[in-house]
Symmetry: C2
Subunit: 427 residues, 2 copies
């Protein structure tokens, strides 16, 4: 795609341009292409790496989209803006996100005689890279509707969905405020980490002075398949993860469990979803010293094949009722697969979309590693909260994990071309 | 490759097995394959992703090897072991590294009746993944030869190469001890981050009680090509990086600048190299607000094409002597490309092999991002130190970077099959 075909970046608000440009030089011909214009990053869509997903549509991409390999997730606070500025920010983010998911830059890099004396609109590190399956998914946190002091900053308090609860405290939670919550979130997924990082960086930049980065997380090695064509990958416990995930092809399940229907507590969320993120630190040194027997007991599946301990192969249904010769259940009472199973949680299903993370090591020389768990659902009360309540109490895995970050966001429906993400909230 | 073809893991020392197994269960039949043996990760070498590089050879892989896309680098200290135990550790690491670079696990995952009551030898997260171009490169830090108190812990003080200097303090250094130095290092590079992480994790585990992780760094988006077939990639300044790098095909340059010849200060290093790592934090928010003109002045190249400001296209040689109509040099006196140029540094050339990093964000909401610079050379005194001395004083880029980590390692020649990495040091 050439710059001429591209969605307009001239549509960016003056504040968006200011974010790109920096104060003091914003007047200097930004957006005027000169004879030395630099082509934006292009993606032909002709190869796998160049896959591109539409930004506009009924649902946001990045939910049932085939899970990409890499993640950069960012949470923002918007302490100092008003309703009009919030809308303007979402418009700017929409324009830039639509460009970037097509493999373009957030804006042109610059041109002599035009923007040469202004900062480039795009930071450039993805200039030569294809779209790489980039999806950018936006969400609204509870504090956007009503802040911690009960202030209705944006006139949105009456539009908070009842599904967008403040998550309860779960047994064993060791949450770090600096890695939790946020007014807004952006989930950027791509098959190339540089493309995901580029997206978050440029969206942060556009938001300069409006939204401040609260926390962010890089991930790799998707731990869930979201389509049948994807092979199941492994988490850092070394076990296959996401075998029984909701898949995009299961349209009935997707319809019932993932997307919010019209006529829910808030009609503006029709076609949207609710995202819960949990940063789960694994004490992998302890895990690595547990016997294979103990590891398989904890999970309830074999390590190699990923088959349920009740028998069969990876995709054989888990049978929670089989017993060993001794009479004890084949799948332990406290096994993760049992406690997370829909049969154990009134049918609750989640679309999982988590990633492994390694954030270097701690002062004791232990890898700071684990799972950045992300799930999408229609109603967190009967889905994530139900499942996590089961797990938090008695999951055998609790000995090896610690939840250190937590956040919930309402993910609005997709934007229409010419509109902006979250538009229905302000209608 | 099947487990039967694999290099022996039974060769691991008792302490290596103890590291894998954890105290208390080491006697329980580890290594005895039973009827439920789980195949190790296999790599067929038939696809690009499944590329595999030999571990054994005259030189260690991971130096002139075509730079892979992802990095996990780890530095270790060995405060509590003696010479014999150090050799044993290197033997264990050699065996496990040779296995993993072939796409196998560090050891079998386990088997019923065999090792089922012991921890799996391999942690499992790379079980289904091909070799993914994994290279594992080991190095010895100055403190291995003589610790900070001047102790010759391993009887190696007399074998310290004069090239393995303590790096001098450079102007502007803001080094964090916890991200610097180390007795030993392992550079794991792969096209799949999960494979690189798996390698460091399992080597750490094998070293349990012998080598303690001091610091580690993940990287993505290789910032240097090391072969002519590789396209030049971009760093987080958005500029192409490594255009003028030493390439594997330049055998004369490689011979003169990268590998240590025989007959140097220490014959045991013949065929080895010296690795300097610098963690360079970029103040990207400041950079992103600099004009395109300023950015190009700082680098000395155009942002889009990567051509020298003296003219031409990316691979046109830099001409440091051209002047603009005003009479001032086309390439600024303080431009990075000028100060790093061999003509400015008595011909000094480096084989660069750095990676971009993003370690989340700091408390001020700024991305903690930059370049994890790695270079290989024959003599750091006349190469890295010469170039960095030029840069530290007057590089226009210094306004936008801060060196926060630093380390130097002697990278011994490659191991022979049946031997171990670093064997010549102990001969």
């Amino acid at each position: 795609m050439t710059e001429e075909d591209a969605p307009p970046r001239a549509g960016l608000s003056r504040r968006g341009l200011l974010g790109l440009a920096g104060a003091g030089v914003v007047g200097v011909g930004i957006g005027v292409a000169g004879d030395r214009a630099v082509a934006s990053a292009s993606g032909t869509g002709s190869s796998g790496a160049a896959a591109s997903y539409p930004f506009y549509g009924a649902h946001q991409s990045g939910i049932v989209t085939a899970a990409q390999d890499r993640l950069h997730f960012a949470s923002f606070d918007v302490p100092d803006i008003d309703r009009g500025e919030l809308i303007e920010l979402l418009r700017d983010w929409t324009l830039a996100a639509a460009r970037m998911t097509e493999g373009l830059g957030a804006g042109p890099v610059g041109a002599v005689g035009g923007a040469y004396d202004a900062p480039p609109d795009d930071t450039g590190e993805a200039l030569d890279l294809p779209a790489s399956g980039l999806t950018i998914t936006f969400g609204f946190g509870p504090t956007l509707f009503e802040d911690a002091d009960g202030n209705d900053r944006f006139g949105l308090a009456g539009r908070r969905p009842t599904e967008l609860i403040d998550l309860p405290h779960f047994a064993g939670d060791a949450l770090v405020p600096a890695q939790s919550d946020g007014d807004l979130c952006i989930q950027a997924c791509s098959d190339d980490p540089q493309v995901a990082v580029h997206a978050i960086r440029n969206l942060s930049r556009i938001a300069f002075g409006r939204a401040a980065l609260r926390w962010s997380q890089l991930g790799f090695g998707r731990t869930s398949s979201t389509t049948r064509a994807q092979v199941t990958t492994r988490n850092l416990f070394g076990f296959k993860d996401g075998t029984a995930n909701v898949k995009a092809e299961d349209t009935t399940q997707v319809g019932e469990h993932v997307f919010a229907p019209g006529g829910d507590s808030q009609a503006w969320m029709a076609g949207g979803s609710y995202l819960v993120a949990r940063k789960i630190r694994m004490t992998i040194e302890t895990w690595d010293r547990a016997s294979l027997r103990e590891q398989e007991r904890v999970i309830g599946r074999t390590k190699g094949e990923g088959a349920p301990l009740s028998g069969g192969t990876e995709f054989t249904a888990v049978d929670l009722d089989t017993t060993a010769a001794s009479g004890s259940p084949t799948i332990d009472k406290a096994a993760h697969v049992r406690l997370a199973h829909p049969d154990h949680n009134a049918g609750a299903l989640l679309l999982r979309r988590g990633y492994n993370f390694v954030d270097g090591n701690d002062d004791l020389g232990r890898l700071n590693a684990g799972l950045f768990f992300i799930c999408f659902q229609r109603d967190p009360r009967s889905q994530f909260v139900a499942v996590q309540s089961s797990l938090a109490g008695s999951d055998a895995m609790n000995e090896y994990v610690r939840h250190v970050g937590s956040a919930i966001f309402a993910v609005p429906p997709g934007a229409n071309r010419g509109g902006f993400v979250g538009e229905s909230l302000f209608a």
